[in-house]
Subunit: 164 residues, 3 copies
């Protein structure tokens, strides 16, 4: 295995999922890549926006359907479900405990570490519009709001492109 | 961010999922890329085949299990579920309404736009065989039926490869 | 379509999912690529570890939560669920039957073929730690246990990177 650390191999991740386990996988890859000197961008779209929502940040739209989404889609980094074995929230609790026992960082810590390592966080413009979310609903680590064209401009310069 | 539009950066997407939200994400990326002059190919496999099935296009196999799949897996572009919050079909209805209010195109419109922009649609041969589907079960925008080897021949020339 | 088989175009797959249909898609791509002379690596992480667990290989950790995971997450290549239409196990049974009727190999056969074609299987270190799994819980085809940094070193040399 080549362990030679080559600088400047960009990594671009579309984080579509809001599941804790998938977000965790995205951040493990992102922080590892950033620590190897690779420029990393994460484009948060659809349910992935939950990962970077402020605690208590609600979908702001006036439409009754956007209000209803607040009830069924109440999420932020400390409150994400698992893609499997969610078991009414028991799964994520178990997973967090097992991770903390093994000294794996929590989502909150992952977000802070990633930001400190220079990982760029881009919320997706279209998903925000559909869900009635505004820039101020997201954590401070969040960068510029971009659309699919800007995502593609970044992705086409990346050697590693993942959709999670 | 580099906004320079470089022609000829191919994008290849495997659309495995038949969920409306994931198919939507695939088509947002595909149409944005095609509008930037990138050659785009979508390889529809497993549940992703539902996205390009004709309305009323049924799984044709004679095997009772293929017939049963018709009942549980009845899908086409206007009738896809959400990966989350499907709520017995309420989720997709809400999502469609919210999207149309924000002038986001529907799946049907996305398919037509993508085809008009030259996005290539390839149904996966093996999945069609397993599910008893024939070329004529798919919408007219559909291209050649190809297998994994042909997919890989396209993918290895692509800078952006996604599995959705 | 370019059918020219170019050697040495590496393919790297993160197999995060333990769903039968997604694992199948990963192995169809992996074996097709390997048969075209491409070096293929699969990095098994989170639920994907189930695919390469020995039959009866249990999560070994002493923690009650790891023991509980054994009950809810009992999986190996012959006993994976479908991502859709699982129907209490009926789905995978039907899918297996339909596949065998069409002469599509089973997961077990896919694993053996992939290994014979030189596909490299890497279990993810962090996921193993969290789940209390050891190298000996995996099938013999399994290679070195690696972390995210080693995965990235392989991925950055790959033309096709997929997250499944």
């Amino acid at each position: 295995m080549q362990q030679t650390i080559q600088k400047k191999t960009p990594v671009t991740i579309v984080l579509f999922s809001g599941d804790m386990d998938k977000a965790m996988a995205a951040f493990v890859i992102a922080t590892a890549a950033a620590s190897m000197g690779m420029p990393v961008s994460i484009f948060f779209t659809f349910w992935g926006l939950n990962v970077i929502k402020k605690k208590g940040g609600l979908i702001k739209g006036q439409h009754w359907m956007q209000k209803m989404l607040n009830i069924v889609n109440y999420g932020h980094a400390r409150k994400l479900a698992l893609s499997k074995l969610n078991m009414l929230g028991m799964g994520p609790v178990m997973m967090k405990e097992m991770m903390s026992k093994k000294r794996v960082p929590s989502m909150d810590e992952f977000i802070k570490t990633a930001a400190a390592l220079g990982v760029k966080f881009y919320p997706c413009e279209m998903s925000m519009t559909v869900m009635g979310l505004k820039k101020e609903d997201f954590i401070d680590e969040c960068g510029e709001v971009i659309g699919a064209v800007s995502y593609l401009s970044i992705a086409k310069e990346s050697n590693i492109n993942l959709f999670i």
